[in-house]
């Protein structure tokens, strides 16, 4: 990258910089006019200078050719102007003033937006370049990169550059011009005073930057410490388990505090020095008038200096310190951002960064990898000089199934990375057929080789997106175009180009369906299901699907299928005599297995304020309950519950786990409720205050008769609750439609999960093994109805979470394998990629992968040598060397290295 920030800015933005400069120059005359005009308004307009009496008239806006008299000998009038009387003249002047003000504001607007845009464009360019370089960091270097630090660099540290870039050239040009004019003016008035002023400016210009040097150094330290702090904070998050498990949170606190202290010290010193500089600066600026008044005054008294000239000098001087000071500030800022720039780009120049052409998506990748994969004299040495791989040479067929085994320190995992072209050998060559593997661009290696390492990274997207990730190399199909989008896209592309960014459309379809053996988005799910079956993830996806959501409008066929299952479920349960295990939602009946709130809402809340726990505060619900004559009943229920809770939890100490698990009331609130109960017993419910009533009303909402068995819900309450439910639904439909997806036996509920849609009710409490029986019945039902794949399809939308954290480690590895199988690479390299699975599953998946990849290459680096029997060829590694190779039967003999390793297991 360009080491000099200024050069970088100039190189990429000279046209815009010049345009802004021109704009500034154009604005100057108007600016000076606006400074002059108030004087004219007062002197001529109001005081009537030049008018003999108010009725006298004068020419307005008369214009002479500048220097006309000098050129032609007589004044040349370009425009005679309008002849106006004093009042008219005054009004014209004031209107001109407003007009000038508008023009000036207009200029300011254009200049500022221009600068802002320019700065942002450069910032965009810089950020892109940094991320682009990050993407080209070689994998071995990536291990040394701290992600939080890189993130702060790209996001925060370059931010101030954007503000500066707009001013990079305009400010010095503009302020410099001002300062030089003022200086020249003083010099014209009096050479000696001018020289004095110049001398002091020179001292200022020399001294101040010098004093600022340590500040810059401190600024650099501050940037580094702040960046490291960001890195440490990220480590605290990453190492959370270790920190809690080892009780080292206080060590971490101490570390963070010491860093904060260092930042404070640096900051403190910066302040001291900065304000010292300001002090000196101000002092020097005030020294000049002192010399003018004092020295110049004495000269004037003695008659050596004309008083008029002295006053002119003093007046001219008032224009000098401002620009000088700002110039010095600008210089300071320049140094500051240069440091920031240096510090950032330094981190983005690893020695062996990939060439951009290695990642060019349009490089030809049509030639399959075939023939022999041959290594000759391949060695790998790490930064600390360890020989990880020692001059390995072998040749294998690309389409063969190869196992590489060896002890864990044999270097086999490094060999895996080399074969996948993810790291480069220190010496030696790796060739595929006629081609040099290390010279192949990623468009070939990344599409024709599959690589599964020990830890698979999953992006925080859906399962489907993660599986398709390996097929997304470049935009292949245009997204749906609307005229607005096309226009927006055109502007977007133009702006991207101005900032030197590539213009690939992220919203386009990047997925190479053909590479996965599908013809398009329509049938890719079939391929995905196949692969999920292969890696034994279909059951997981099925479960995700049951707990997942679909939009009934977007997928009416799935919704219909699920409704069919809903209708069939009771019949299926009846076969097992288990029909009483599910109590369905019936719009006309109270469901004892659901809470009162669920019975009243009778739907899935979609909006805040309609959540079950917020229902007591919901105005509409309160009104409906009042009309249904339930409000007082609910308060009575609340009193009953409170009485029971007070009775049975009275002796338990606060913080007892029972409160959390079973109580309707927090331990802290129990005394309040005891108070309410006492009050009601003495004075009746009328004595309760509104907040008490609200607290009591909240209790019964989570009461479920079947579960809590306090005998509070009788038939009258049931009837009224059902009436209230209907009233509520009708009102809601008018007032806030869509806030709650009301349960409708005939309709799919998009706000509820697939499982809830099928179940459409509650599993009965207190029925032995109800959950298992119902779950099994549901699974069998979906199978017989042929809906299993539909559910799995819905499960593909399951979000895996950050880094796949919502999946288990085994699921992550299986998905990683599935992603590689789906891609159908010419050569699949599995670098001990199933290590977290149990050995039986490892063997099973290994066998399935090999069966599926008949005719395709597989290189499997195995942790357990036992399973290498399935491969046609085995390479045995020890201490960075290949010590044996051949078929399993050839090698599996007493005394061979392979049998030694197997015996050691």
């Amino acid at each position: 990258m360009e080491p000099k920030l200024f050069k970088y800015i100039w190189h990429h933005s000279k046209r815009e910089q010049l345009a802004i400069l021109l704009l500034v120059l154009l604005s100057m005359p108007f600016y000076f006019l606006s400074l002059d005009l108030p004087k004219m308004i007062v002197n001529q307009g109001i005081l009537g200078k030049g008018f003999s009496d108010p009725l006298d008239s004068k020419s307005f806006l008369a214009m002479d050719l500048p220097f006309g008299e000098l050129l032609t000998g007589a004044p040349v009038t370009l425009f005679e102007g309008f002849t106006l009387q004093q009042q008219g003249f005054l009004l014209s002047l004031t209107f001109s003033y407003v007009l000038l003000y508008l023009i000036n504001s207009g200029f300011k607007y254009w200049i500022n937006t221009g600068k802002g845009r320019l700065g942002e464009r450069m910032l965009r360019r810089l950020r892109y370049e940094l991320t682009d370089r990050l993407l080209r960091f070689p994998i071995p270097h990536m291990r040394r990169v701290k992600q939080a630090e890189v993130a702060t660099m790209v996001k925060d540290e370059v931010e101030p550059l954007g503000g500066f870039i707009g001013d990079a050239f305009v400010t010095p040009a503009f302020l410099g011009g001002q300062a030089i004019t003022a200086m020249a003016f003083i010099l014209v008035q009096n050479v000696y005073l001018g020289l004095v002023a110049a001398a002091i400016v020179a001292i200022q210009a020399y001294l101040v930057p010098k004093m600022r040097t340590p500040i810059l150094r401190l600024g650099r330290q501050r940037q580094l410490t702040a960046r490291q702090l960001a890195g440490r904070v990220a480590e605290v998050v990453d190492g959370a388990v270790e920190i809690h498990a080892h009780d080292t949170s206080n060590l971490e606190r101490a570390d963070l505090v010491s860093r904060l202290g260092r930042i404070f010290d640096i900051r403190h010193e910066i302040f001291q020095r900065k304000f010292m500089v300001k002090f000196v600066n101000n002092f020097l600026a005030q020294l000049t008038p002192f010399i003018f008044y004092g020295g110049g005054g004495i000269l004037a008294i003695r008659g050596h200096l004309d008083v008029g000239a002295l006053i002119a000098v003093i007046f001219a001087y008032k224009d000098l310190p401002g620009p000088i000071k700002e110039l010095i500030d600008w210089e300071q800022q320049r140094n500051d951002v240069q440091i920031k720039y240096d510090q950032v780009i330094e981190q983005f120049q690893p020695p062996d960064i990939l060439d951009p052409s290695a990642q060019d998506p349009d490089r030809d990748a049509s030639d399959p990898l075939d023939g022999q994969l041959s290594l000759s004299g391949v060695s790998l040495v790490d930064d600390s000089g360890n020989h990880l791989i020692k001059s390995i040479s072998f040749s294998i067929a690309c389409r063969d199934h190869i196992a590489i085994v060896g002890p864990s320190d044999s270097g086999k995992d490094h060999l895996g990375l080399l074969l996948a072209s993810l790291s480069e050998p220190t010496s030696g060559s790796i060739r595929v057929g006629e081609r040099d593997l290390t010279k192949l661009p990623q468009s070939v290696t990344g599409r024709r080789i599959g690589y599964l390492g020990q830890d698979t990274y999953l992006f925080p997207q859906s399962v489907r997106e993660n599986l398709l990730y390996g097929l997304r190399h470049k935009p292949l199909r245009e997204p749906k175009e609307t005229p607005e989008r096309r226009a927006r896209r055109k502007a977007w592309v133009a702006e991207s180009q101005r900032a030197g960014n590539p213009t690939w459309d992220f919203e386009a379809d990047w997925t190479d369906y053909e590479a996965a053996g599908a013809s398009g988005p329509e049938d890719i799910d079939e391929r995905i299901l196949e692969v999920l079956n292969l890696v034994d993830m279909d059951d997981d996806a099925y479960r995700f699907g049951l707990g997942g959501f679909i939009d009934a409008e977007a997928h009416p066929e799935i919704a219909d299928a699920i409704l069919r299952a809903r209708a069939e479920l009771p019949k299926r349960l009846a076969q097992d005599k288990a029909e009483n295990l599910v109590v369905r939602f019936d719009p006309d009946a109270y469901n004892k297995n659901a809470t009162l709130a669920e019975n009243l809402l009778f739907g899935t809340p979609r909006k805040q304020g309609y959540k079950l726990r917020d229902l007591a505060n919901n105005e509409l619900m309160t009104k409906v309950l009042d009309e249904a004559g339930l409000l007082d009943t609910i308060i009575d229920m609340g009193v009953s519950i409170a009485r029971t809770m007070v009775e049975i939890f009275a002796d338990l100490p606060p913080g007892h786990p029972f409160f959390e698990q079973f109580s309707f009331i927090d331990a802290d609130d129990l005394p309040n409720f005891r108070g309410y109960v006492v009050k009601v017993d003495k004075q009746g419910t009328e004595a309760l205050d509104p907040p008490d009533r609200l607290a009591l009303r909240r209790l019964p909402l989570s009461y479920s008769e079947a579960r809590h068995r306090l005998g509070l819900i009788d038939e009258t309450i049931e009837t009224r609750a059902v009436a209230a439910r209907k009233l509520f639904a009708a009102r809601l439909n008018k007032l806030d439609p869509g806030a709650v997806a009301i349960y409708d036996p005939e309709a799919y509920n998009s706000a509820a999960s697939l499982q809830d849609n099928i179940l459409f009710g509650r599993i009965a409490y207190g029925q032995a093994r109800a959950r298992d029986i119902v779950g099994k019945a549901m699974t069998e039902l979906l199978d017989t109805l042929g809906l299993r794949n539909i559910v799995i399809g819905a499960g593909l939308d399951y979000q895996v979470g950050v880094g796949g954290k919502r999946l288990s480690a085994t699921q992550r590895q299986k998905l990683g394998l599935a992603r590689n199988i789906l891609k159908q690479p010419d050569l699949l390299i599995v670098n001990d990629g199933l290590a977290v699975l149990d050995t039986a599953t490892q063997d099973k998946l290994q066998r399935r992968v090999l069966e599926r990849r008949v005719g395709g290459g597989v290189i499997w680096i195995l942790q357990r040598p036992q399973s290498c029997e399935q491969f046609s060829r085995v390479l045995v590694m020890q201490d960075g060397r290949i010590v044996e190779q051949g078929s399993f039967t050839d090698l599996n003999k007493p005394g061979s290295a392979l049998s030694d390793i197997m015996a050691a297991e």
């Binding site: 009275a650 698990q661 068995r709 005998g711």
Partner: protein
Amino acid sequence: MSIDEEVEVLRKIPLFANIEPAKLKLMCFASQRMTFNPGQVLCGQGDVGDSAYIILEGKAEVVVENHAPLVVAQIGKNDIIGEIAILCDVPRTASVIATSELTALEITKDLFFRMVTDFPELGVEVMRVLAHRLEHTTALLLEARKGAK
């Protein structure tokens, strides 16, 4: 059956006879009432036991699976079963199978231990019941030895 009725049932069981009703109510409230159909298994021999059952209604038989299943006892209302497995972490020593529709209060291990630690009088009662059983078993053993001689 509401909680209050369950409390009444529990009070008739000797183990709980001396416990305050409020505490019994807490125990009922904190435990689940389970309904079993005839033929359903309350606990299976060899399983890890994580709860005891107090039978509120219905009948069940205790079956020991040795070469062939052998019914060793009939149990019914007010009986408590499965307490040994939760007390000493051994697998269930026998299966209990419902012979009629059966309702039982399921007391989880966690709940049981909490109740015993929070209300020591319950612990004493449990000891008393176990001691009685031990005495009964010892008597049976002596009788069996006499018979053998």
